[in-house]
């Protein structure tokens, strides 16, 4: 029996532990790398397609490098109806953003700062909206909008999108206001502010970054919405409605360029609000 000294045993153990650690580390890093490329690679391929000419897109086999050919994007921009649709998407999203924040902020403030009868009922109403496929509500609204002259209007569409975005903006703003100590407001009242002045001088500056984030969130909800947009707009199509309604007729390069245009602002905006994403969902959670 070959006797190992204590030091040798110890050294062996340490080596074993280190080896295991290294293995786990490697496994961990490679799964991170895998997941990151799982998300990024398909987007990259869309970019490649959008930056290639129609011949390349329809050709085979494909090159995995972008040709930096602006033909497709040019064609897309000049394709009949695209520019209008892009503008419409933008307008609808801006409307939605303004209405959702305009209506949601006071309600969020009320939830954060007051105890009142019916508070729980109101909160339930807000949460209930999330338990239903909201885009479906575009169906009856389409009929109603015809009667009130809002059919095929971006304003009508943004009202439906606001119904989607409002619950979020109420919950997010209320959590923002909850995060601002009420004593700051009280200090302002004692020092001579009325409620409105205290809100503007103390609460608003502190809530502004979060409010921006929730506005961006409302914008993205509207920008990305397909079903209601497709049902409610005919001549004033948004970009999503345009792409869905012309799926069978539009050339592939229009689809791919359209897809890229669709996701670009969303990615950018998410980057702007990334800090708030989690606090938003952390709260929207309860």
């Amino acid at each position: 029996m070959s006797d190992l000294s204590y030091d040798e045993i110890l050294e062996k153990e340490v080596r074993e532990v280190n080896r295991k650690k290294k293995m786990w580390r490697w496994l961990f890093l490679s799964s991170v790398a895998f997941l990151v490329s799982w998300i990024l690679f398909p987007i990259y391929l869309l970019v490649v397609n959008s930056l290639s000419s129609a011949d390349v897109i329809n050709g085979f086999p494909k090159n995995f490098w972008p040709a930096f050919d602006m033909e497709s994007l040019h064609f897309f921009v000049n394709y009949y109806g695209v520019l209008g649709a892009l503008k419409n998407s933008l307008i609808a999203a801006l409307f939605t953003m303004v209405i959702a924040i305009g209506l949601g902020t006071p309600a969020g403030y009320a939830l954060a700062r007051f105890d009142f009868r019916g508070k729980e009922t109101f909160r339930m109403l807000i949460l209930l909206t999330r338990a239903f496929p909201m885009p479906l509500l575009a169906l009856p609204l389409a009929v109603i909008f015809i009667n009130v002259g809002l059919d095929d209007s971006l304003f009508g569409l943004s009202l439906v999108h606001t119904a989607l975005a409002l619950p979020f903006s109420v919950l997010i703003t209320s959590s923002l206001f909850l995060g601002i100590p009420v004593e700051l407001e009280e200090a302002a009242w004692v020092l001579g502010c009325n409620r409105w002045q205290a809100f503007m001088k103390v609460v608003m500056p502190l809530a502004l970054p979060g409010l921006t984030a929730s506005a961006v969130f409302a914008f993205v909800i509207s920008w990305n919405e397909v079903f209601a947009a497709a049902v409610l707009t005919v001549n004033n199509q948004t970009l999503t409605a345009f792409l869905v309604q012309s799926l069978s007729t539009s050339p592939v390069e229009v689809k791919f360029a359209g897809g890229l245009i669709l996701i670009l602002p969303a990615i950018l905006f998410l980057f702007v609000v990334r800090k708030y994403l989690f606090s938003m969902w952390g709260i929207a959670n309860r």
Partner: protein
């Protein structure tokens, strides 16, 4: 003005808005669904859609899709959120990248995967270059329903896991690390800690995540339209067809009622199965 009325004044616009654009259309969906084209109350719209040859396949596809996609996404999201909770350097960057699909609509996701799975797409190009195939295969045609289904599953997993991830990451953030330390001191290895500490304490987040994600799965529409076209009918797509292509609001509303019913059933199911006893929350 009396201070008592402040909150009511503040919530009034939202309440009014939700009454007009949520409660009222919600009731209206039912009214339209149960009103036949001649104006009588009845089930004729439902008879119409139930006898439509696309109804059963669309119901089957929608349910099957949810049944396959949601559990896979849940497991992935749990794994990803645990992974992220272990990260220090680069955590924010990785998190941002993994949540990018949050901003991608199902339409855009469909387009992305079309670029890959199309006959002239990147998958075929890749398979061709390594010699597996010698000419472009048309994967997404009606002869390959299983491949179409798989393609939709992949696209959905790619697109909609992020929402679960965000909810779970913020849920994990709420669990104080003392619980893990306590469990570790008392001899729990990381596997036991996952099952006995993390997952039970994460139950409220899991519940929200599952409800939200399942409802979104019932709303799946544009991805399927792009990848499957008419070869893979789903409920939301049929609703769109009846509303937009056949201009039949009654039948579309009947479809909407079916989707709403499914949503309610599953919401109640999750609420029941994953309910958290009062006082057992963090």
């Amino acid at each position: 003005m009396n201070k008592k009325y402040y909150p009511y004044v503040l919530i009034a616009p939202s309440v009014l808005f939700l009454l007009i654009f949520f409660v009222y259309p919600f009731i209206e969906v039912f009214v339209q669904a149960f009103t036949s084209s001649d104006g009588h109350v009845g089930l004729s719209n439902f008879e119409n859609i139930f006898t439509d040859y696309n109804f059963l396949p669309s119901l089957k596809n929608t349910l099957l899709l949810a049944l396959v996609v949601v559990p896979v996404q849940l497991c992935m999201a749990v794994g990803m959120s645990l992974m992220i909770s272990k990260m220090k350097k680069g955590r924010d960057t990785v998190l941002y990248i993994l949540t990018i699909p949050l901003g991608v609509s199902d339409l855009a996701a469909g387009i992305i995967w079309l670029a890959i799975l199309d006959q002239n797409g990147f998958l075929n190009s890749f398979l061709f270059s390594i010699g597996v195939i010698d000419q472009p295969e048309s994967w997404l045609n009606y002869q390959n329903p299983i491949i179409i289904f798989t393609a939709v599953v992949v696209a959905e997993i790619w697109r909609a896991t992020a929402i679960l991830l965000v909810i779970l990451v913020s849920g994990i953030g709420l669990i104080p690390k003392e619980y893990y330390e306590a469990a570790e001191i008392f001899g729990a290895n990381s596997w036991v800690r996952l099952w006995k500490v993390t997952l039970p304490l994460l139950r409220p987040s899991l519940q929200t995540a599952l409800i939200l994600r399942t409802l979104l799965a019932f709303e799946v529409f544009a991805v399927v339209m792009l990848l499957g076209g008419s070869n893979m009918p789903v409920l939301m797509g049929e609703t769109f067809n009846w509303a937009f292509n056949y201009q039949d609001a009654g039948a579309a509303s009947a479809y909407a009622v079916v989707i709403l019913a499914l949503s309610i059933v599953f919401t109640l199911f999750y609420l029941r199965v994953l309910r958290v006893p009062k006082g057992a929350r963090i």
